[in-house]
Structures are given as structure tokens and as C-alpha cells.
Symmetry: C2
Subunit: 168 residues, 2 copies
DNA sequence: GAAAGATTGTTGTTGACGACAACAATTGCC
DNA sequence: GGCAATTGTTGTCGTCAACAACAATCTTTC
């Protein structure tokens, strides 16, 4: 990752060394991003890649990825939710949630209980093992969050959460 | 997307209606996120999904996705770059860039020129058609950026760019 | 109460994407 | 001159979003 490479380059005309066209220039890191700086999407994408990689690395021992963590957290806080409700709340495809739950159920962290009221749906619950495991996951996730603070600054992280609070 | 659903829920104990376990609760949208609020990664992920969807929608007529736009922009601003240099600068796999360039070259937007100096590498350039097309792409991308401003606020967007400037 | 329509979980496909591994051609190093 | 490294390419694997189709089950409507 290029944490602090050359930025602030908004020229529209090609740069030095444009010449004819048979000379590949890549020595050094003075490659301008042009219009890319100033695009929120680009910065957010790069940041998201970094943040996910750190999350995965920090929770490597317990083998939990961000999406799995979000599913477990929501079920833990709202026992009895249906799959559709979880999918809608987290903004993931219900088709994808099926596989996620298959995996989590195999690992004895979650159980699907057939509902008596609506026999189409399943009521989702954490197992006892899942409860204690989630506690550990949360501690590790908090550690990851401290990495984020160290990376962008405590105050900036708080500000970022405030700005994006409408998307959660 | 749940733009302004119930937030600020940091309880650790299960919520109302926990009961035994055969009742699926998903009526209404009072599903708490628990520890998920307070995780920058979750908010950033949701925001990134929104922002990419808007970008794709805004540039639908010209059929350009964010990654393609970033590649074209960097080549346009740095003619003659090698594939390796572009990949490194944008943080994408060089293997993936191959397919991206295949597509862009088929559409006559980019051309690979065999380098005389280093016969392993290609010097990347925009075609004349690619230059004019990129102009249009940039106008549409600017329109997308205004959507972002409308969504999170002009000042917040600027602040966000400032916070994440280290990742570009 | 029965038919028509909607919802839930499931399976499958498609395509974008990141991560790796292997390979031939070429370059740089010693 | 020979060996390691680099560049572009091809391929595989797993994650992920977006759809489409389906059976079982509600819900609505007549």
C-alpha cells in the first residue's frame, strides 16, 4: 500500500516524458492520480481494503471474517431473528446468508430453529458455545478497532463514524 | 439500504422477545446492531457499496466501472506507464489488470505499445478515441461526486477526503 | 373457503474482485 | 556466461453482489 505517496495532482494534460510512446516510465513513484484524488470512492475503496485486511489478520486465530462477525453480532443482540430479517438488516443477499449460516452452524456457533408461527422461516439463535465465542470475537474486533485508531487517528476515526452513521 | 434506521444500540444483553426460541422476530425495523455500531469497517463497507452503486448507475450509459475509470485516468495522466506500474499505483493485481486492459483495448480506448527499452513490458497509452471518451467519463464521474455531496454533505465529504488522503 | 399472489429459504449461475501459483520471455546481477 | 529477478500472461481458488428459479408456506381477495 502507498500510504503517503505523491498526491495533489490535478493537471489534465499528460505529464513529462509523454514523448512518442515506446518508453515505459515507472521508475520512482511519481505517478500522478489526476482526477482520482478528489474522488471519495477511490479513497474509501483503498481504506476499506486496508481495514478488512487488518480485521482478517487480527481475527485469524479464530477464523472469523467481517461478514461472519456481523452476522453473529446481530443474531446475538436479536435472538430469534429470521434469515430474511438478518439479511435485510445487514444488506446482504439472503442467498448468500444461507451459505454463511451453513458454515456457522457446522461450527456449532449458530442454530436454526424451525418456527412454529411461520413454518417457512427459521428463528436464529447463538449456541452456548457461540455466545462465549462471540465474546472473544468482540475483544479481538475491539483490538482491530484500535489498529484503525492508530492508523488514521483517534479523532479522525470518531469523525468518520459520525459522518457515515447514516449508512449503518 | 437503511439510511436512517434505529442506531446507537450498545446493549450487550439480548433484547426483548428473546423467549424460548421458536418465534422469529423481524416485524418492524427495530433490529439492533450492538457492537457493529462503533466499527468503522462496517460503516465504511456500507458506504462503499452505496458509492459504487451510484458510480455504476451514473456511468451506465458509457459502461464504465470504477476500476476501469481509475485505470483510464492514471494512463491518461501518465502516458507510457507499464502495466506493472499501473497495477502497483492503483493497488490491483497485475494479473487482473491484464483482463481489464484486454477489455479496454478491445473497445479502442487504450493501446499497448511494445517497449524498445524493456522488451518484456508494454507502454500504455490512450487512443485518440480514449482521450475524448475519458473527458466524458470525467464529467460523469464529477456528477457522481455531486451525488455523494448531496448524500453526506459537502463539508463532510471534504473532511472524509482529508481523513483518508493517506490511502490514495 | 378456494384461488391468486406474495414471502421464505434454498439452489444455481453470472460476473467483478483479491490472492496465489506457475510459466516463457527478458533483463539485471555477479 | 550463468543465475536470480522482473514482466506479462494464464490459470485456479474463494469471497462477494446480483439475479433467476423453485417448493413450501403464508396472505390476500373474491
Amino acid at each position: 500500500m502507498p500510504p503517503s505517496a505523491a498526491r495533489a495532482d490535478t493537471r489534465h494534460s499528460p505529464r513529462k516524458r509523454a514523448g512518442n510512446g515506446a518508453a515505459p516510465r515507472d521508475v520512482g513513484d511519481d505517478v500522478g492520480l489526476d482526477a482520482l484524488v478528489g474522488h471519495a470512492g477511490y479513497a474509501v475503496r483503498r481504506f476499506q481494503i486496508w481495514i478488512f485486511q487488518d480485521f482478517i489478520k487480527t481475527l485469524r486465530d479464530v477464523d472469523i471474517r467481517p461478514t461472519q462477525y456481523s452476522v453473529l453480532t446481530v443474531i446475538g443482540a436479536n435472538p430469534g431473528l429470521s434469515q430474511m430479517a438478518v439479511a435485510k438488516r445487514l444488506g446482504i443477499e439472503r442467498a448468500r446468508l444461507v451459505h454463511l449460516l451453513d458454515s456457522l452452524e457446522q461450527r456449532k456457533l449458530v442454530k436454526r430453529i424451525k418456527s412454529k408461527e411461520d413454518r417457512r422461516s427459521h428463528a436464529l439463535h447463538l449456541t452456548a458455545q457461540g455466545e462465549t465465542a462471540l465474546e472473544k470475537f468482540k475483544r479481538l474486533a475491539a483490538e482491530h478497532e484500535r489498529h484503525v485508531e492508530a492508523k488514521i487517528g483517534k479523532e479522525n476515526r470518531a469523525q468518520l463514524l459520525r459522518i457515515l452513521s447514516g449508512f449503518t
